[in-house]
């Protein structure tokens, strides 16, 4: 119990992750309830509330009350919990674990599964690109300005998967379940700095009995081939799917270029949980090792 309390408020920034988690939960509950209600009744409730009201007083008063509530919560939070202030900065003492600020812990978690240039640079860039292009690739005119699931199943499922699982849940994991050496610990479990965990011991080709490298250290051609076929084949799924759905109504509307972008981003997003599975369950380090980079 003490252990748990200590973990929650050390550093006290961790508390923000709890607030985040609770608020996400409440918001999801409210949103999905509203979606169900709207989908069931046909006309969304928002449509019945689209008569106009005066901003003064109806909007201004709720803004005022909202500001008061936020100030009250903030004041209580600030009186009860101090911002962290640890030992003075010392470049020669590296704390273990060294964690990024909580909102980047999802990205830090990705470092376990991919090399830094992918996890720290390429994937964040793709996240931003993905967010920016959402309005330009989602051509479904329905569900604009009201809660609905039925009318935009695909869009909502993909976004919720990315946001709730790959962003929020990984932040919670990084905050409360990662300890020294970035090993997994339960929040109520003592951090053992000497915890031994089996290292990712082999690469994907070795699962099939093919070495990644030859004895003199160069890349083994067959291993290279297996890795390449796996990675390219994975993205090939997107190409195959295109030829199966070429004549579908939505595919024509989307166009081949937009489809390519969406398929690439989606497959890359799903590659993260796949790589997590390969690493955690099969202990696979790299799928494809090349002389220049490894994935």
């Amino acid at each position: 119990m003490d252990q748990l309390l200590y973990r929650i408020v050390t550093p006290s920034d961790n508390f923000a992750t709890i607030v985040l988690f609770v608020l996400v939960f409440i918001c999801c509950y409210a949103a999905f309830k509203q979606m169900r209600e709207n989908d069931k009744r046909g006309t969304p409730r928002e449509a019945e509330q689209s008569d106009k009201v005066q901003t003064w007083p109806y909007l201004v008063r709720i803004e005022f009350l909202g500001a008061l509530a936020v100030m009250a919560i903030l004041t209580v939070w600030s009186v009860l919990l101090d911002a962290p202030l640890e030992e003075p900065a010392n470049p020669s003492v590296t704390p273990n674990p060294s964690k990024a600020p909580w909102y980047f812990l999802g990205l830090q978690e990705m470092l376990v599964y991919f090399d830094a240039w992918i996890a720290g640079v390429v994937l964040p860039t793709l996240i931003v690109i993905g967010l920016v292009i959402i309005p330009y690739i989602d051509f479904n005119p329905k569900g604009n300005g009201y809660y609905t699931f039925k009318e935009r199943k695909f869009a909502i499922t993909v976004f919720c998967f990315g946001f709730l699982i790959l962003w929020i849940l990984l932040i919670v994991l990084g905050t409360f379940f990662r300890g020294p050496g970035w090993h997994f610990f339960w929040p109520w479990q003592e951090w053992d700095p000497h915890k031994i965990v089996a290292m990712a011991s082999w690469n994907w080709p070795e699962v099939f009995g093919v070495p990644t490298r030859t004895i003199d250290g160069t890349i083994h051609p067959l291993g290279f081939l297996i890795g390449m076929v796996t990675v390219l084949g994975y993205y090939g799924i997107g190409v195959l799917y295109y030829f199966r759905k070429k004549n579908a109504e939505w595919m024509k509307k989307l166009g081949v270029v937009n489809y390519g972008i969406v398929a690439f981003l989606m497959l890359t997003m799903i590659a993260l949980p796949i790589k997590m599975f390969l690493r955690i369950v099969l202990n696979v380090h790299y799928v494809w090792v090349t002389p220049w980079f490894s994935v």
């Binding site: 923000a16 607030v19 985040l20 608020l23 996400v24 918001c27 509203q34 979606m35 409730r45 928002e46 689209s50 008569d51 106009k52 009201v53 005066q54 901003t55 003064w56 909007l59 201004v60 709720i62 909202g66 903030l74 939070w77 600030s78 919990l81 101090d82 911002a83 202030l85 640890e86 030992e87 003075p88 900065a89 010392n90 470049p91 003492v93 704390p95 060294s98 964690k99 600020p101 909580w102 909102y103 980047f104 990205l107 240039w117 720290g120 640079v121 390429v122 964040p124 920016v132 959402i134 309005p135 989602d138 569900g143 604009n144 300005g145 009201y146 609905t148 909502i156 946001f163 962003w167």
Partner: protein, 255 residues
């Protein structure tokens, strides 16, 4: 007696020069209340009823903006006590936390409001997605929103270094080490030797003003945090709010 005085005051030129209309509860006055006020005129005079329903917007955009204001005020107060130099920064924080009246309250409020802003901006984005409010004609305001999201992260991240304690130093070290892994431009990234990129000339060096997080990085982050990023985010917020109005106000089913 007091009522009489008030009445006189209301009729005076002074009063009329400040308030352009009286307060009687009429449709016209309610409209003027919004239009004649520099702060409130960002709003439309009237809006659809679902727009004031918390179940629709969750109020998250507004709360994000409000937290930004709180951060500006508490931040200015903190600046009175803080010097962004390696030999002073940490001691100034200690002084603030132990000896300045209301120092801890100001610092805590700044810290928690900053975390709160990161939380609410993410939830605001989530809400905008779930109500499909990025769809035409609001596509571009979503893009501006993504820029605001990144700026919020950057503001929080640059501020994280300023206490100059172990937590700050190493969190920022972990974060900025990512820059070293940038393909081509970071000294640990793939293909960077081809460009002659080294530890002392890559993007991380540019960001930190050195090969590790030191006093040079502190002053860089301080200037970004207190001057550059707040100005930029304020400009983008202005555009964001303007676009909310120009795109037809709050989204709704009857476009």
């Amino acid at each position: 007696m007091l009522g009489n005085l008030m009445e006189k005051f209301r009729k005076s030129d002074v009063y009329k020069s400040i308030f352009r209309h009286d307060y009687k509860d009429t449709q016209r006055n309610r409209a003027l209340q919004i239009l004649d006020n520099v702060w409130l005129h960002l709003h439309p005079v009237r809006l659809p009823r679902h727009g004031v329903n918390l179940r629709y917007t969750w109020g998250m955009g507004g709360i994000t903006f409000f937290l930004f204001i709180v951060l500006t005020i508490t931040g200015v107060i903190l600046m009175f006590y803080y010097r962004p130099a390696g030999e002073y920064a940490y001691d100034d924080m200690k002084y603030l936390m132990n000896d300045v009246p209301f120092g801890p309250l100001m610092r805590n409020m700044h810290r928690w409001a900053a975390h709160g802003m990161v939380i609410t901006v993410m939830l605001h984005m989530f809400r905008v997605f779930l109500t499909g409010s990025y769809k035409p004609p609001r596509q571009f305001n979503w893009v501006i929103g993504v820029v605001l999201l990144l700026l919020t992260f950057l503001l929080s991240f640059t501020g994280y270094l300023l206490p100059w304690d172990q937590l700050a130093l190493w969190a920022v070290t972990v974060g900025t080490n990512m820059a070293a892994a940038t393909p081509l431009l970071g000294h640990e990234g793939p293909f960077s030797e081809m460009l002659g990129v080294r530890m002392d000339n890559d993007v991380r060096f540019l960001l930190l003003g050195g090969t590790q997080v030191g006093p040079a990085a502190l002053i860089r982050f301080y200037v970004l945090h207190c001057i550059f990023l707040p100005i930029v985010i304020a400009i983008f917020m202005a555009v964001h709010f303007w676009r909310v109005r120009k795109d037809g106000g709050i989204s709704g089913p009857n476009q």
